[in-house]
Symmetry: C2
Amino acid sequence: MADYLPTAPYRGTRDFLPPEMSVRIQVFETLYEVIERYGYVRYDGPTLEPVEIYEAKSSQEIVQQQLYTLTDRGDRRLAIRPEMTPSVARIIAGNAGKLQFPVRWYSHPNCHRYERPQRGRVREHWQINVDVFGSDSPACEIEIFELIFDMMAALKASPDMWVLRVSDRVLLNAILTTMVEVTPEQIRDVSALIDRWEKYSQDQLAHDAAELGLTDKQFHRLGETLGAGENLLDELPSNVREQSLLMRVLATEARDLVTFDPRIVRGFDYYTSTVFEVFDTSPENRRSLFGGGRYANLVGLFCDAQIPGIGFGMGDVTLMDFLATHDLLPAPRSEVDVAVIPVDATLAEAARQVARELRQAGLRTSTPLEIRRLGKELARANRSGAPVTVIVGSDEWSAGTVTIRNMATGDQQQVAVSAAPSAVTAILALGG
Amino acid sequence: MADYLPTAPYRGTRDFLPPEMSVRIQVFETLYEVIERYGYVRYDGPTLEPVEIYEAKSSQEIVQQQLYTLTDRGDRRLAIRPEMTPSVARIIAGNAGKLQFPVRWYSHPNCHRYERPQRGRVREHWQINVDVFGSDSPACEIEIFELIFDMMAALKASPDMWVLRVSDRVLLNAILTTMVEVTPEQIRDVSALIDRWEKYSQDQLAHDAAELGLTDKQFHRLGETLGAGENLLDELPSNVREQSLLMRVLATEARDLVTFDPRIVRGFDYYTSTVFEVFDTSPENRRSLFGGGRYANLVGLFCDAQIPGIGFGMGDVTLMDFLATHDLLPAPRSEVDVAVIPVDATLAEAARQVARELRQAGLRTSTPLEIRRLGKELARANRSGAPVTVIVGSDEWSAGTVTIRNMATGDQQQVAVSAAPSAVTAILALGG
């Protein structure tokens, strides 16, 4: 017996067959369109990057456990990008002299992380990245939040299906120091603890807090503070409020778009101020869909310019789970608009000629590569989702006509070959 | 002095800034549309694949010199895909039971090869892959050739700018054995020699031929045969003609699309019959733009089904060089259709409101993130290519109006806020 190579994709990666790819394309083209309506322009970068750009600022988890690394034949240490933000910071730094800041950029790269595959987690995912570089105005936050609303609306997600939870690391730091009496040295570890707040048990959190040197009283106070949610905003001392960019955002019309939540921290080390995450509100899928934040210093790894940024990344896996949960996935597109079927092999060239006419009218048109009986070919056209077929018969062809068949109703009509494109288009318009 | 990380992309890879990305997207969306008009549906696969799928059938050059390989944390030997054909063969094999053959598939992956960067060669390129699986009818060749013609026409390349050169390995093998008296054992090496025919000097070729055991007479005869071009077709013995699929293709209307050339071999080991390459005809760029062929046995690496395939891959680098040489590159798209400019900071929220109306009409619309003087902001809008600006002034806003400015002519008109979308659309239509 022959030894066959395995047909499964590498663990944690996916094959997208045409129906799945059609869904993916429809969802992301919808998003591209909304993002471009806000004046964001698309860029792209390499899959391989020097490993140093992640070692500098990405999370420890990514660098130590999740990075795919390799050494090329010229002994360069490379990584397959696990996220896009370091790449875009590098590109911005390298081209800062010729850009007109602020810039609005987006991209749609695939990113690789070595994770244990499970629901919502794969090793290769596709991620929309949206960023503004070169402004620290709260207008950036307002725009990004509004954009997220429009993206979700364009995917037909109603506002009760999800929530945009926001915080500000500057605000959180001030809260922790003034209200919980955390020392500046403890802030990073306590922030990491807060990031786990909704995932771990209270006992576990209490244990971890004690290890960080928090007293029982501080831990209790921390719980109260984080649990206060939006009420916390009213309790804040005015000097704390004044330090926060987010407070300026919340003073505008964007206030209605977001829910302040001090538990939002985000794992990435590079965020310095505003942070936000979109959560599914459905009980089966109560996890973060995507998120982002402000990073004041990331471009500074590559050059001496101060170019603040704010942005978010939206991965396909959690997004598709969300859309599936809420029954919002679009149907795969039909393979063609119209299938042209010759009744026998002598009419194959005639069928190709008709197909050419239909294609010139912009119609997605197939002709059989193998000649089969008409009934069989009609059944195939039906399975491929073709809404219309054009049958090329011998007598009709001699008379310069073809038969147009509406596959939904079975209605047929005979038309001149030159009238076939408009006849097909008319039937498609009915189905649209 | 601080130590900055380098901003250049990894050698042989590219950053696509928005203007370059806009050109890339326009070119490839044009191609997607043509390909879909032929009923091809898009699929996608992983960037990482088990290294074995290349070791089995890809060229020695790829496997031994060009493959990026790595071992994951679970000790799996992986490669970053250097080409798409082995992946698509794997996917077809894994899903053969649920597919309706023949299938028409296309994809647009990035592929990595460790090459010495030079004109037309990079380490990461983007490649359109178009394949038919499940038919050995010459109708596949006819369709693929016609598709290539339509793709080139859609890119505005006139037929004198390029040529589609075709051959058939079955035909070549028969020619070599009957007309040059090459032994079956020599065929593979002699084919590789022919693949170098146009790149090496005659002396070098003669030397290599001698090493393969060809006599001077055979080498001379080989040169005559390869040089005969299309005339060779008339000289072929009828038993040779009958064995060739390509001869059946050349008996149809597709004859006018191609130039038979026995020097076309293609480096890939997996091609078994028809092979073809598109060449630029311009003297500065006389190289293969892209090519493909038939592979009878590739899916057979993964399963016991016999599923023949035919397809081609079209890389972005050589294609863009071709378009640039012939002055066919599209201009980058403007960043936005319209920029909304508040005359001062108090009108920022009003400007956002106007922008919302324009976006709802599908217009790509920006508002400033930082408030600047009107003149400065108009200059910025101009540089970003905005054909229209909407100026939000204080008195006008109180009266419910805004000023619409045609950036090409400088003409301004005052309209009600609700009429702004149609006024902007009217100006854009003039420019279209």
